[in-house]
Point group: C2
Chain length 357, copies 2
């Protein structure tokens, strides 16, 4: 069965329709301690499937995204004698859909599961594409499998409990998908105002989200196991992960999407230097990022540490070059590009200049 992506403001109707079609003997709902509080009551009051389901709760937060939490899910399924024909509904952000997907894909070698992402970041990224997993020994998603949910129900209905920075963090992935697509998409995304009163019902945001998730889907369908093309989705993430890691080391962590936003600026600069990516687009992106994400403060004394984080982040072929996904122009990613320390340092100089630090 191909994965269904459903964009809707009527989540509970869709859950019940899908549950009817899958027709499991038993339904299970996975939440974390956050979504249990903020989202579950609504689903329980409106969805027959959720009302009749067995509830499984895991502690919230990336620090709890480990085998211990997966075991909570496996134990609950085992205790209820769940069969391969039963259904798990994952309700939450990326931690819940990654972990719930992994638990479902490995219980009796795979049962049905549906993802209901409750954050913008989860909706635009984690919940689709089949990457499931848990952290292990301090490494992110070290244990996991590729396994697509039967369906993903994407809605903006739960976003009203998110903070502004949680929203912006997810929005960075929309910007990334737009950069992988077309100038038209890019312009549309960077001119949308998240807090626009014209979009109080989030209908414009939902349409943007639909576009964005379908861009990802197209890439994933062409290369589900990341043999090549899918690496395009790593755009912004090599430099981004370095910012994220450095901020964490300085005990001043930044949201993932903020680090990716800054990383995309660095990597469009590199794309300009190495692949002749148009400079006006670099400037348009930098202005958008500076306005919405502020900046990350660092000096040239921090370059060696940032370069070292970048070298660790990717499977690099040799020590002298770091692997990047770059862009020739908007919509034309180029995977497995490399840059040396000198080029990256120059890009960081230009980044600091553009971001006013």
């Amino acid at each position: 069965m191909e994965q269904q992506l459903i964009f809707t403001q009527h989540v509970t109707e869709e859950i019940d329709r899908l549950a009817d079609r899958i027709n499991p003997a038993r339904t299970f709902v996975l939440v974390d301690t956050n979504t249990s509080h903020f989202v579950l009551p609504l689903l329980q009051s409106e969805s027959e499937a959720v009302k009749g389901a067995t509830l499984i709760t895991i502690p919230s937060g990336d620090v709890n995204k480990g085998l211990e939490s997966a075991a909570i899910v496996w134990k609950a399924l085992t205790a209820a004698r769940a069969s391969r024909h039963d259904l798990l509904i994952n309700v939450g952000g990326g931690v819940v859909t990654d972990l719930g997907g992994f638990a479902a894909a490995t219980y009796k070698r795979g049962i049905h599961f549906i993802n209901v992402p409750t954050t913008l970041l989860g909706a635009v990224d984690a919940a689709t594409g089949g990457k499931t997993g848990v952290n292990f020994e301090g490494f992110k998603n070290q244990i996991g499998v590729f396994s697509e949910a039967d369906a993903v129900i994407i809605s903006t209905a739960f976003f009203n409990t998110l903070t502004h920075s949680e929203m912006m963090s997810g929005y960075a992935e929309l910007v990334k998908h737009a950069l992988l697509t077309s100038n038209k998409e890019f312009t549309k995304v960077i001119t949308h105002e998240l807090d626009d009163s014209q979009d109080a019902d989030n209908s414009t945001l939902l349409r943007l989200l639909e576009h964005s998730v379908n861009i990802k889907k197209k890439i994933v369908d062409a290369d589900p196991h990341e043999a090549g093309l899918r690496k395009a989705l790593n755009f912004g993430h090599t430099a981004g992960h370095a910012f994220e890691a450095m901020a964490l080391k300085q005990l001043n962590p930044v949201p993932h999407g903020y680090a990716v936003a800054w990383g995309m600026v660095v990597e469009t600069i590199l794309s300009h230097m190495i692949k002749d990516f148009p400079s006006d687009t670099v400037h348009a992106l930098a202005a958008f990022v500076r306005r919405n994400y502020g900046t990350f403060h660092f000096t040239c004394d921090d370059y060696p540490a940032l370069l070292s984080f970048m070298a660790q982040d990717k499977k690099n072929h040799d020590a002298a070059h770091i692997n990047f996904t770059l862009l020739e122009k908007v919509g034309h990613p180029c995977i497995d590009c490399t840059a040396d320390d000198k080029q990256i340092s120059t890009a960081l100089d230009i980044f600091r200049d553009m971001m006013g630090i």
Copy 2:
């Protein structure tokens, strides 16, 4: 890459050839405390790939086939910073290939792995077909995935350290595959003598094994995720698991293959009763099983317990009927057949009569 099945008496040559082709940066070899002692020294002395590999050892036995042992493998891979392009070679019986396959398939969402089964049962069954997994909360293979090894190297070279009952236990699966194929294959398998001095080098056994594994491969390729046809491979296992479970409960465990051999006799009797399976083949099988496996002793007082085990063993659609794979004739399996308690009791009566108990 399609799974390669290699039948050879030159195991180490094949390991090195495959390792050359996969060309991993790092190679890991998984053994248990048995194969570490009996098999590893030979491989280390003759194979360059094994000589240069990092060794991972887990405790032997089904009781150790759990997440704790999988974590030993994941930890060793993590400690060595293994990448998605590295290789795990699983050397052992079904426990090692099931567990090693699961660990490899879930580490960074899947690395290369090769199975080198060292028992007849492992060679004819567990090592091929992509069913990986570990036990959980007392349930066999409760956590796992479908993931085929890059290659399986099948040889009789390691069988000289197996006991007669270990050999016979594996041989039951060859009989099963023959019953799913043709009268010719069935006759060939039940007339082969395992201890025949004419086959001191096991070349005839290796050819029988090649036939048998290819029968399984054909079925698995047509239905890898057991949606239908693959259930044919469950032939003999509904009654067989009931004998196995009862023996275990009586603290007098029997080898898996022995239980399957008796189970096949019961299920050919049922096939005769329900599907008109030819009675002369029932008699030929019963005589072969009685001669080579002896029998399992039980009285009609044990029927309710046996029926209860059968009801638990399968995902039955209703309480009044138990699900079986039956045979219309040799080579014509019929999946999702049902029998009621009365029919099964009659089959058990006939079984006791035929087996002289």
